[in-house]
Point group: D2
Chain length 336, copies 4
């Protein structure tokens, strides 16, 4: 008999995250209990709970984990680990239940957008496009005031998790020197990755492009405070791509209006952005409506790694592609 898997993608939909082929693979290896993109009725869950070996979901909404004696894995499909205020990680760690995040499915797409936004800002692509459309473009050297190349620049990464590791190879042909601030990683490890460990202030003051790549945690809210943002040099570009949580967004907005530095922003404190939020009209910034990871191909990547890792787990092997919750990491994340 096939092992039982609850499939409850919550705000995502079955067709969004699984190709036909991956859906078939999933049904091949498991007895799938699915609520047809609505919550699975509690009585249906109650009936199978003793048999459930894995849950593919977004939030945990099935009561105490203890009630699932054979549970071996929770595979989340939203893109971030559940909040530890609501999810019982400690029981999972004690019982060896894997808690896995689909975040790696978005890594390459987001990294590509980070590079695209960096080039768009460095070479002034959107403003140059608007200028031609409005008949005020300038050709040649006069059209390239304030632009720069990525080649041989010193760039800074704030955070060196999965997203940073997906971005690093895209910058390799540009021979950038990569400085990294990540207080959760040792200097020795960073050096072994071919990047340069740096303090946050030094990084901000010496990087031509600064990529904000860290996941939000209890300790990094508004890490880029007004005071820290002031360290950024006039000609530099801040690429805000992981979460607005890490930045004092009001200060950032004011500094863009003041022409202090340039930026490219894909994530905002409130999404959708309030209609009259001043960021909409800010100069020297490329704006994007949280589109870095959110395309159809990226969503299908979720299904692919979920089925690959579920297959591994059911065959008695460790998962390989999703991000496994490390106890220390989860404790450091804190409630968000």
């Amino acid at each position: 008999m096939k092992p039982t898997v609850l499939l409850d993608p919550s705000f995502r939909r079955m067709k969004e995250i699984f190709t036909k082929n991956d859906r078939e693979r999933l049904y091949d290896i498991a007895n799938v209990v699915w609520g047809k993109d609505r919550p699975i009725p509690a009585e249906k869950v109650a009936k199978v709970r003793k048999e459930v070996v894995a849950v593919v979901g977004s939030d945990w909404r099935y009561g105490p984990i203890e009630r699932f004696p054979r549970l071996r894995a929770f595979l989340e499909v939203s893109g971030r680990f559940p909040d530890s205020d609501y999810f019982d990680f400690e029981t999972c760690f004690r019982r060896g239940i894997r808690v896995l995040s689909c975040a790696p499915a978005f890594g390459p797409a987001v990294a590509e957008m980070a590079l695209g936004l960096a080039l768009a800002a460095a070479r002034n692509i959107p403003a140059g496009d608007a200028a031609v459309r409005e008949g005020r473009e300038r050709f040649g050297l006069a059209g390239n005031i304030h632009t720069f190349h990525l080649y041989d620049q010193t760039v800074g990464f704030i955070g060196f998790g999965g997203l940073a590791r997906a971005l690093k190879p895209l910058l390799a042909p540009f021979r950038c020197r990569i400085q990294v601030y990540d207080p959760w990683l040792s200097e020795g490890f960073l050096r072994a990755q071919g990047v340069v460990p740096a303090g946050l202030n030094a990084l901000l003051g010496t990087s031509k492009v600064i990529f904000v790549l860290a996941a939000p945690s209890a300790s990094n809210q508004a890490l880029l405070s007004r005071k820290r943002l002031e360290r950024i040099r006039n000609e530099s570009v801040l690429v805000l791509i992981s979460r607005a949580h890490l930045v004092d967004f009001d200060a950032l907005t004011q500094m863009l209006y003041a022409g202090r530095f340039r930026a490219a922003i894909d994530v905002f404190p409130k999404e959708p952005i309030p209609k009259r939020h001043p960021i909409r009209k800010a100069p020297g910034v490329v704006l994007s409506a949280h589109r870095a990871g959110g395309d159809a191909k990226g969503f299908r990547g979720i299904g692919r790694i979920v089925v690959n890792d579920l297959e591994a787990i059911l065959a008695g092997h460790p998962p390989q592609e999703m991000q496994a919750a490390q106890p220390e990491f989860i404790r450091n994340l804190g409630p968000r």
Copy 2:
């Protein structure tokens, strides 16, 4: 006594193309005759012509080359070989006078812009920026209709000269399969470079991104005719970065209005673009005012390779960095 060099950068200016350091190196190795960014007076040229071993210039405006008995090199600083209607290449070939173009100085800058424009088009960055500014952005999946990733795409290069060779490594981390159409190169050579030789029609019909990278020649005017453009698939992107000469621009403009495919365009048949040219309002296209190579850093690259190669030539070694005129290549270029 130092060898005499005429320095006559024509429409470029000394300070644009030489850093202070390169200017000093130049004056160290040569007796430089310079017209202070104006044409060197004819009588001044006449006085030194028997001693001149090299000319750094843009057009040749000093009468028959035979009058310069010791001439060993003409180093052009405009970015393209002089037109063979006006420049006596055959005498140079017969006498072993090197004719060198500074085009390679622009390669990396233009390649970076080609990648930036491709990502801007693929990920819809300028349109997404405009949408946020005008308050009509859509978040998430809805904001990513028609976008795609470069990863693992089949792309097409039209031309495989210096520009293509500078672009190829930038695409490497995206694992693109690169198809090349270049009638001046053998299939065997192309395969040895790790690209796939392709016919032009096949390339147009199967590439997700098509980069127009060839230098203009007598034989490639409007190579991308209306009929050929019609082979491009709906969801593909044409990146026009070398010269508008290669494309039937009217047909291209009409097809963009018809939504037949998408594009990114840095070069135009007339520059500046006429005020009312319909391309300015075309949908599905990223526009840029011939800005790919034209920034200060790129211009300084001209001076650097001019001095490096002049140094080599004066020391009795072959030049290494500028593009040397090959007789067959010049004859194939034809008058343009």
Copy 3:
């Protein structure tokens, strides 16, 4: 007060595995209890056991793990996880005690030797050297019978763990197509790594160079049986670098005498090799006395990653460089 760490490297010696600098870093972050390269006396252990947060060792020889209430990590320095017959992994998993192996410290050194041995065999380097020394060398084409290049060859990896992942980049400039047999990894994962999943028989029958890279486990003893070895083609080379455990060594020896294929061997069923073992005189094989990982620099790598990861753990972060024991992996390894 600093956390207490037992340092008991067993058959290794403090000076072998730690540079002066790493030793100082270790003593900076921990209260180190060391037996001066002899077992730590039991009474000394008993006195501190309630305070011990980490053990750096080779075997566990301190009684039940339960007696160490604050233990958070066991960092092994021998190069392989302890045998599950003797080590209580399950308690560690339940209590969240990290069991970490120093195997990654050897990866680059062993991968380099694997490439060196492959080239030595492909290009016949040791036999060519012996020929010159004995005055029977042949120059040019006649000296290159049976040699081949690595460029563009299809190669096979048996196992795709840390060692394989360190070897892969060394082969990249040779553009090899890499086939992988690893029953513990999904096809999807392997494809995402840029290698080609393959069945064992197909791999053996189609690879020009076959690298044996898997760690020994309960299920892979003599995986390369006589019958499987017979699938290897005449002109191919078997590089045996992880453990002799995976091969029917008698069959391999006989096949080398029969000239069936060629090999390079760094590991043997018994080490030292018995004086009269026939492998010593076998033709068509490059022999090496388990020297791939065992040099001074590799040993110092152990100390470096032990201190780096200990530092991370004591600071409340997940370890990054050592190999963490995964429950499924340990269970699959089985007693060896």
Copy 4:
């Protein structure tokens, strides 16, 4: 009518250098006059000389070049340009006749052997093999005295021509810092290639592995004199792979006997090596009988690039794969 090509590979043989496929391609594009691997009879040459557009050969043995009014290319298949004492380069340069060398066909094979020899020396592979065969091997650390890894080493290239450029990518995964001594190239050019220009003495005194990669010229005979060899450090390895011409071979032999440094040698002042030459018994050296380029696959590479470039030339395009004789280079080479 097809253009006439003399095919006179001299000491090489048709079947050695052309695959069946390349031979067919050759006969497809040209009217081939071949002497069946013997010199083409003079009267046969005389009959066609006015029609000959290209000669594929080794030495020029057909009288004054002026007698061949339509000659456009001489493609040499021996691996080095003809000696300027015997070959009339100046007429070729004046008339625009291409003189092309097949040396690039050997680049990858020789580079692979250079890496193989460097690893063999660094990791002591041939001596380790001999030790096991003679029953005097030592396992583990004791077997690795004097070995070292290539990772992160500083290496030196003497010469930065085609061979060096084929070796550089093979070293890339080892992250070596590459110092280059090449008096024919500017510092600016070398830096742009990602290597570090260095004086010869500094290079010898600071490189862990020194690769001799330069082609022999009038000015580099015994460039590595006894005095210069003395600068090499005790633990370093000299890899002699291009020509023995560049080294004081007697001094080198004596220094190996004295244990001053280690070496790997593929080329010798006299080949075959005299029976009693002391190098045969020298310690600390890996010996190879000029086998780096001389295998069947390398020889077939000659035919491939000859046909590719002949095809290009006959179609009116510049050759791409063979090395074109540059006037300055030929003059610097001098008589050898």
